[in-house]
């Protein structure tokens, strides 16, 4: 698919702030199933941008606004082409014991220190164990939305998995965090993915939709028969599916804090009011035929 993405974030401060420093992780990644044709970031008030690639390979754009200001807008535009990844092979549990698997898994198999107490997880461990790693992945994509209500506002950006389990509701970020822990407990390496998700227009008319930044995950599945490289397979526990060509990936990490879309600090006692909007437009000629 071929998308035009616009991601606009506006901050209104209730008094003057200075030294507003931010790090953006918003640029769609370049992967085997995704290509970026065009990418622009514009900041108001205008300022210089610094770019680098972080430890996990995500492009980071940093900027600072030293002068006093009362509002700030971050305007991101990207054009991306995605293709559908092949459906993953089904490999046995034994395959994740291979040295090549551990090698590729690296730190995505390790606890991160954000895990809730074991007692809270044990019931899920039982349920999540399926006939194969892939089956477990698919099962979790059903199990989590079955068990927890998707309800914006019940959790916040710093909420833990324990908050989700105890509260019974959360958003995509919480679902993914729980799924990651459960997968790793089964010996399956898994990583957090930040990105944009295209949702087909309800009315079928317009090709431009208002969406949000989204979170899903990638699990490392062994190649079938124990031969070949293990592959990272995207899965979206919020939407009960494996990742599709509608999922536009920005980057990955161990958890949310490794890939936050916007992270910033400023000097001044002001409260900030945030307005963020992501809009995605399908550019493929095929889509108009769909209507």
């Amino acid at each position: 698919m071929n998308f035009q993405i616009t991601f606009t974030t506006g901050y209104e401060y209730d008094s003057v702030v200075t030294d507003n420093l931010n790090a953006l992780r918003v640029r769609p990644a370049t992967t085997s199933s995704q290509r970026v044709d065009d990418f622009h970031v514009r900041i108001d008030p205008e300022t210089r941008l610094h770019r680098h690639t972080d430890y996990f390979g995500t492009e980071v754009i940093e900027f600072g606004i030293p002068k006093p200001h009362e509002s700030m807008t971050i305007d991101v535009r990207a054009r991306v082409v995605t293709t559908q990844s092949p459906y993953p092979d089904e490999a046995s549990w034994e395959a994740i014991g291979a040295p090549a698997y551990a090698e590729a898994a690296g730190e995505f198999l390790m606890p991160t220190g954000t895990e809730p107490p074991d007692a809270l997880l044990e019931e899920f461990d039982q349920m999540a164990r399926a006939t194969s790693p892939l089956a477990t992945l698919l099962l979790l994509c059903e199990l989590i939305p079955d068990r927890f209500e998707y309800k914006p506002g019940t959790t916040y950006v710093g909420s833990t998995v324990e908050d989700l389990i105890r509260g019974g509701a959360g958003v995509c970020q919480d679902f993914v965090h729980l799924a990651l822990i459960l997968l790793r407990r089964q010996g399956i390496a898994a990583r957090y993915v930040s990105g944009y998700l295209w949702a087909a227009p309800q009315d079928g008319g317009s090709d431009s939709v208002e969406v949000d930044t989204h979170a899903w995950l990638e699990a490392l599945l062994p190649a079938s028969g124990g031969r070949g490289e293990p592959v990272w397979v995207g899965a979206d526990p919020t939407n009960r599916i494996l990742a599709t060509e509608s999922h536009v990936k920005i980057g990955h990490g161990r958890f949310y804090a490794d890939v936050p879309p916007v992270k910033g600090v400023y000097r001044g006692g002001a409260e900030a009011k945030l307005a963020a909007a992501v809009s995605m437009t399908r550019l493929d000629p095929t889509t108009s035929a769909r209507a």
């Binding site: 030294d19 420093l21 931010n22 790090a23 210089r48 610094h50 680098h52 690639t53 972080d54 430890y55 996990f56 940093e62 600072g64 030293p66 690296g106 730190e107 390790m110 804090a257 490794d258 992270k263 910033g264 600090v265």
Partner: protein, 538 residues
């Protein structure tokens, strides 16, 4: 030779059998190099030593050379730093061995840090497992791929050494923000003031040039083309237990002591706020952990740091000592691999050995350790300053049982070590009598263009009989460490020919009479100057 000289009464001092005493031989006679000191101690007697001790406390309180300790009744603030007035003496040859071993070790650790954040060659060579490295709490993803100016990461190192009957060994590597150097310098000054007579028969290598070495190193790595590099010392603030040292070093180097709120990053350059506006900073000696340096890159909830500092660091506009991410090299699980690093990176045999260490993340080693907890020392891998350490032989059985459960759950966070039989040095009690007490040694190295190590270092001493706990926060004391200038040190530059100085003829002193300076002669009277009838100056 008549009776062997010993302190006060020969029956008073007995080296503990089975432990190496650095002053007395097992038969109670002093080692050759220590004999003059032992004799002087004997001459002084306990009263003089105790009196000097009281003067010491008064001076330290007056000068604010204090620290906060944890006493039996909770925290105790502002106690005079417990300097024991009996020095620890080390022959030059012994020091040369230590110095070479440390320089070698620090070079290897520096290579390791660079490797961890770049090529990972030591991982590919199968020597250190990558999973172990990434699971260290001080592994810093934020500085992946950044190479600091000069390729130096471990600008300041303070490794802990111990000596047993076999010789010197490394107990711990401290390459984050080791503290204690200010006490080394203050101890030496205090010793010359309080017990100058002990120095009489010795030439002791000086230590007071440390701030110059540090400043030179900080300037050497500063990304500044001229000599005008601005250097600062960054302290977390007066509440930090080592604030005294931060202020001391800033004062001795003549640089600003800054806190986070004094610093700001604009674009990708670090500045400090001064009364005349922003002033660029080129080199930062920081005395706080990575977690608190930049909320954008490390702990986000910490607003103590300087947002954007890592960006400036990445851009190469500022040098930070020690470099971000060096903590991965002083983790206690990584310590285990240092001798292998020496071989791998330098192609040399390690000069200083490790203490025998067990990595509990290895199931076989865990298996070996669990039934022997009461004979080993168990340490958490990422702590320093003796925090969370269990000394098996002196830990109650029920605590060890609880510990065993913890080890089984999170073995990767712990190591076990053999108990080292720390050497002893005579140490004075409150009443001035001396007895054998266990010591360790923390030498301080500075890595700028080359590695330089201040002779000696901080000797820490356990003040209770038989105790091996030397941390000052847990009731340990310290000693002035004397490296003797006894000739044999091939590393030293050749001593220049002694220059026989011609003294200039100065005008005579005048004493307020009406003297003509040509006529004023050496006076011998006790009277006031004006009592001397001299002709009025014409």
């Amino acid at each position: 030779m008549t009776e062997p000289a010993t302190v006060h009464d020969p029956s008073d001092y007995r080296p503990t059998p089975g432990y190496h005493d650095e002053v007395y031989l097992p038969d109670g006679s002093p080692r050759d190099y220590a004999r003059p000191m032992a004799e002087e101690l004997e001459r002084m007697g306990p009263e003089q030593l105790a009196a000097a001790g009281r003067r010491r406390d008064a001076i330290f309180m007056q000068q604010g050379i204090t620290f906060d300790a944890t006493g039996e009744d909770g925290p105790v603030k502002d106690r005079p730093f417990p300097l024991d007035l009996v020095p620890r003496i080390m022959p030059g040859e012994e020091w040369t061995h230590i110095k070479r071993g440390l320089a070698q070790r620090i070079r290897a650790l520096n290579h390791f840090v660079d490797d961890v954040y770049h090529g990972r060659e030591i991982v590919h060579a199968g020597i250190v497992p990558w999973n172990l490295i990434v699971s260290r709490s001080h592994f810093a993803r934020a500085v992946h791929g950044i190479r600091p100016p000069g390729g130096v990461y471990t600008h300041v190192a303070g490794c802990d050494l111990v000596r047993d009957e076999e010789g010197w060994k490394v107990l711990e590597d401290n390459v984050r923000t080791p503290s204690g150097i200010s006490y080394v310098l203050e101890n030496r000054v205090a010793m010359t003031r309080l017990v100058p007579s002990l120095f009489q028969s010795y030439r002791v290598r000086p230590v007071d040039h440390y701030p110059q070495l540090l400043l030179a190193a900080l300037r050497a790595v500063a990304p500044s083309t001229d000599d005008e590099a601005t250097v600062v010392v960054w302290t977390p603030g007066p509440l930090n237990s080592a604030y005294f040292e931060h202020a001391f070093l800033a004062r001795q180097m003549g640089v600003e002591l800054v806190e986070a709120s004094d610093l700001v990053v604009r674009d990708d350059v670090l500045y400090m706020r001064t009364t005349s506006g922003l002033r660029r900073v080129h080199s930062v000696y920081r005395r706080l952990d990575d977690d608190y340096v930049d909320p954008l890159e490390f702990r986000p909830e910490s607003l103590l740091g300087v947002p954007g500092l890592v960006r400036a660091y990445r851009a190469g506009t500022v040098a930070v000592a020690n470099a971000f991410g060096t903590g991965v090299a002083d983790d206690k699980a990584i310590y285990h691999y240092v001798p292998e690093m020496v071989k791998f990176y330098l192609g040399e045999e390690p000069i200083l050995d490790n203490v025998k260490t067990y990595l509990l993340s290895d199931p076989e080693q865990l298996e070996y350790v669990l039934p022997r907890l009461d004979q080993l020392v168990i340490k958490p891998t990422s702590e320093s300053g003796g925090k969370g350490v269990f000394i098996g032989p002196s830990t109650p059985a029920d605590e060890l049982e609880a510990l065993a459960e913890v080890l089984k759950v999170e073995p990767q966070k712990w190591i076990a070590q053999e108990v080292v039989k720390l050497s002893t040095v005579p140490t004075s009690d409150l009443d001035g009598t001396v007895a054998a007490r266990h010591v360790d040694l923390r030498p301080f190295a500075v890595f700028g263009e080359t590695i330089k190590i201040v002779p000696g270092g901080l000797t820490r001493v356990a003040m209770r009989e038989g105790s091996m706990i030397v941390n000052s926060s847990q009731g340990g004391g310290s000693k002035d460490t004397w490296v003797l200038e006894d000739g044999e040190d091939s590393d030293r530059a050749e001593p220049p020919d002694v220059v026989r100085q011609e003294l200039p003829a100065l005008p005579d002193m005048r004493y307020g009479g009406w003297s003509d300076q040509e006529q004023q002669q050496q006076q011998t009277s006790t009277e006031r100057g004006r009592a001397h009838a001299c002709p009025h100056r014409a």
